[in-house]
Amino acid sequence: MSGQSGYNPTNPVEKWLDERLPILRFSKEHLMDFPTPKNINYWWTFGAILMFMLVIQIITGIVLAMHYTSDASLAFDSVEHIRRNVNYGRIIQGTHAVGASMFFFAVYMHIFRGLYYGSYKAPREIIWILGVLIFVLMMATSFMGYVLPWGQMSFWAATVITEIFAAVPVVGEPILVLLRGGFAVDNATLTRFFSLHYLLPFIILAVVILHIWALHVPGNNNPTGVEVKTSADTVPFHPYITMKDLFAVVVFLIPFAWFVFFAPDILGHPDNYIQANSQITPPHIVPEWYFLPFYAILRAIDFDMLFISSKLGGVIFFGGSIVILFFLPWLDGSKVRSGSYRPLFKPFYWLFVLNFLMLTYLGAQAAEGIFLLLSKVGTAYYFAYFLLVLPIVSRIETPNPLPASISESVLGNKGE
């Protein structure tokens, strides 16, 4: 699909370059002429939004690192210094902190798009797996970034999350000490987190490049899930998709800017404006909103299972809730990609979305009474969706008839 090239250099300089480093040819084929299904909708713009967010985080992050001090006695004040003294620091720091939330909002949209339209199915398994890897790297990056301001939430998040590793039998305790660089979270922890927080976004960038490379082999999926058959089904990436993506980025920037300019702290926790104190835990610790569903799953396991303690059990379910995503392409056996043509799949999918939102809500509540009970129900459905619903539904369901081609679906809808 990427084979046909519309690049025919006439200018002698371009010709000379093309024989040595065909970078212009590559750009023309992959960034301009790339054939893209003509029916993709706005859910397909989140990929471009994510690219944009990665660049925003890297640029603002590099600037913050010029003013930030990663020493436990100075870190908290240095972030305040950025916010109060550095020229435009208030906005740059706000953009980075709010940017992390916007980044996660976009990635959730992107993931749920894939779950609905079956974008993880053959031949796109590798694209999906690389995506899950990016998601894991993003979680690690933002977790370590959140520790850097060295407030109370930073400190206790670092303590609780590193402690998770101690649940591993036998080697857990040495691993914990190795991760922290001490017996407790302290200066050594902060400095290594800073180093890794600077590194990981560039690793993410590298994996994003692989993700897009893998995408450019089969090309994009689309809302019908029917593969491209002829060039009548596609439009060139530029200008059709570039302009649409740009428009989506502009719309996305509206709430982003609102947060940065009017409510930069609304997504954070007030306790993080108290400097870290290893002697006192804030009465109600909660992670950032984008970790809440997984935090709810961690806390839902408060009972021992056979020889597995509640602590280890919580960690297994927490890790499992993400690891299971890697296996999704092989759990859903349906040959029909798009959820739009799967009558039985659809209600279970929307229940999964609601369940995920419920877990997000529960992750922020105290782990007791009805909240704890609902967390258990939510955790059970989360896993059942992947391990029972998808494998069974894909075997018993009769999908609705698919359009013969993308063109037919587009023109057919018009004609009716």
């Binding site: 998770i164 660089g181 001490g182 050594a188 782990a367």
Partner: protein
């Protein structure tokens, strides 16, 4: 000729494997310092033992001190608290330990333990919870007046470090 080739391949195989193995050992030796540097450094380990003067506390009081970067509870227990802890049958406990095992003989008013909840490490709040000991607000673990886990997700009693009484009022921790 066929046998010649075989013996030749075997000899080469041996050389390949031996070279590869030496290479792997060398690479591992080079990587180890890069990993081990993550472990606690000499300045952290130098703080491994501290002495604390108990005469600064009166009955019913507790303090949180710092040992190896960890918060530590030192509590001067009241006779009622001790009696309450002793009265608990072992069968009620998730991590069975008698009160006597939690303290040093002759110093049973002193309860010394690491202040991190054995669940995920938050610092529990003193004199609270359903058992009059400690309550961890993070995920709701309750500890009794001997620091033993009674209810909630924590798997173990609050951990106790090595410690000894140098005199009636000086305790050495670590």
């Amino acid at each position: 000729m066929a046998s010649d080739a075989t013996s030749d391949i075997t000899k080469r195989d041996f050389l390949y494997v031996a070279t590869g193995a030496m290479g792997a050992v060398g690479a591992a030796a080079a990587v180890w310092p890069l990993i081990d540097q993550l472990n606690p450094d000499a300045s952290v380990l130098a703080l491994a033992s501290i002495e604390f003067d108990l005469s600064t506390l009166s009955e019913g009081q507790s303090v949180t001190i710092k040992w190896r970067g960890l918060p530590m509870f030192v509590r001067y227990r009241t006779p009622e608290e001790i009696a309450q802890a002793k009265a608990v049958p072992l069968s009620d406990l998730k991590d069975p330990q008698t009160d006597a095992e939690r303290v040093k003989e002759g110093h049973e008013q002193w309860l010394i333990m690491i202040a991190n909840c054995t669940h995920l490490g938050c610092v529990p709040v003193g004199e609270s919870g359903d058992f009059g000991g400690w309550f961890c607000p993070c995920h709701g673990s309750h500890y009794d007046t001997a620091g033993r886990i009674r209810k909630g997700p924590a798997p173990l009693n609050l951990i106790q470090p090595e410690y000894e009484f140098l005199s009636d009022t000086i305790v050495k921790i670590g």
